[in-house]
């Protein structure tokens, strides 16, 4: 029995995966059909109680929804990329400049563990309601996991390799190119993977608490109507987006850490 549970045969794994998804969907369907429609909608549903799946399909032809979706993606991408291009180089710089790191380390750790939602009222009162305050919220969510992981990676660079670079009279730039960047990349990508999830949280939080927009607004409106099928469809979409981003980051992480070999 234990042997079967731990089987690594591919088809058994796929079967287990499929069964788990089907069971989850069935539980959702059952709960949706039997609960008060104010609180819950089924996945598929029927003519009387429309399900989340139908809402999802409905979204495709809905221009208003498409605008909301694109607005969310724009917010997410802007904030996430900003966090990325600042946090990765900063992480490596901090690893190279010991005193700067010592000076900033405690702040970085503090902000890394601070729930960023707590800072939203602060952002709101200082910067107001526009697009860029919302971007700032996404940046705040995504920035610190990337910075923290990059920094931890860059400072663990093997001293031996820096010694080799010194012996071959490497310039600072070539030390970055040949050692710091390739060595740090897998660590940075771990941070980036964590940051994709966090940035999605930031995106929705910003859309809830600053001026409502995008998928956050879709969820807000659906919950007030109440249109639980629409709301669950939007949530499902965001979850799907998160899974795709996470998987993408994971694939990159594996690709760029191949050099670690078997003990990597």
């Amino acid at each position: 029995m234990i042997k079967l549970i731990n089987s690594d045969a591919r088809w058994i794994r796929w079967l287990t995966f499929a069964a788990s998804i089907l069971l989850g969907a069935a539980i959702w369907e059952f709960a949706g059909r039997n609960a008060n429609p104010v609180f819950m909608a089924p996945l598929i549903g029927d003519a009387d109680t429309p399900g989340a799946a139908r809402s999802l399909i409905g979204f495709i032809g809905d221009g208003q929804f498409r605008d909301a979706f694109l607005s969310s993606i724009k917010l997410f991408a802007t904030g996430f990329l900003l966090a990325l291009v600042i946090a990765v180089p900063l992480g490596i710089v901090l690893a190279r400049l010991v005193l700067l790191r010592v000076a900033l380390e405690s702040y970085i750790l503090m902000l890394y563990v601070t729930p960023m939602v707590a800072l939203i009222p602060f952002v709101l009162s200082i910067l107001g309601f526009g697009f860029w305050p919302k971007v700032l919220v996404v940046v705040l969510f995504a920035f610190f996991p990337i910075l923290y992981n990059t920094l931890e990676g860059a400072r663990s660079v093997k001293h031996e390799l820096l010694e080799v670079a010194g012996s071959f009279r490497a310039s600072e730039w070539s030390i970055w190119r040949d050692i710091l960047i390739p060595y740090t990349l897998p660590f940075a990508l771990t941070g980036i993977r964590q940051a994709t999830g966090r940035a999605l949280v930031g995106m929705i939080a910003a859309e809830f608490f600053l001026s409502t927009s995008g998928l956050g607004e879709v969820i807000m409106i659906a919950s007030r109507t109440p249109d639980m099928a629409n709301m669950l469809a939007a949530i499902l979409l965001i979850a799907g987006l998160g899974v795709i981003l996470m998987r993408g980051a994971q694939a990159l992480e594996q690709k760029y850490s191949a050099w670690r070999g078997v003990d990597g």
């Binding site: 031996e160 390799l161 010694e163 080799v164 010194g166 012996s167 071959f168 009279r169 490497a170 310039s171 070539s174 040949d178 050692i179 390739p182 060595y183 191949a258 050099w259 670690r260 070999g261 078997v262 003990d263």
Partner: protein, 263 residues
Amino acid sequence: MNNATVNGQPRIVVSGAGKRYGALQVFQGVDFEVGERDVLTIIGPSGCGKTTLLRCIDGLIPLTEGGITMDGEPITAPREGVAMVFQHFGLFPWKTVFQNVAYGLKLAGASRAEIDEKVPGFINLVGLSGFEDYYPYQISGGMQQRCGVARALAVEPRVLLMDEPFGAVDAQTREILQFEMLRIWEARPTTMVFVTHAIDEAVLMGDRVMVLKGRPSSVHEVIEVDLPRPRDRSTLLHPRFAELREHVWSTLMKEAKEAEFKV
């Protein structure tokens, strides 16, 4: 450069060299010279500072007393024409064998064409042909150090610094690499300073064996190795080899015993 003879003018001159880390004086009053085609092996007990001394010659770390000159110029930083082979190999794990060997050339500003022309020759010289596209984790320790040797040779150095290069490979591989290194040196003789803790290796590789001893350590004895070159496996059977080996052994072991019982 005038009057260059076979033995050569002194290329490296170390005078009154000392290194101190805080309260710990590692070595002191070290004087020696290495000629243009000289191979000097440095041997001594663990912690005698032989590796530190080699790093000072490379210009990676500064001395605290005395000075080192190379071709008459004082060493303040790593110089062109000097290459080091490390005990830890120091290969870049994300670079292939080819890219690792090309590293020094690339830093020296060699063009792509120049790299493509030169690198295969050095890969071949160390016997790694066919493994150009392998990553370090895919090859054995001995092959990794062959790659490290090729990387150092590729910049065509006038001075080769060997930091216990075969100390991290198994005994058989070590022997193979020693004879390979002798062959390579015969093909392209350079000034070589070779740090080791293996007595056989010190005698086999060196024109002279310098024994560092004491705390702080200093040059205890320099033993001329009057074994004919080219050297190969048959050198090990030379009666003179056994005598020299014995000589170094007794010098070193006396020191080792003293060190072991002096806490």
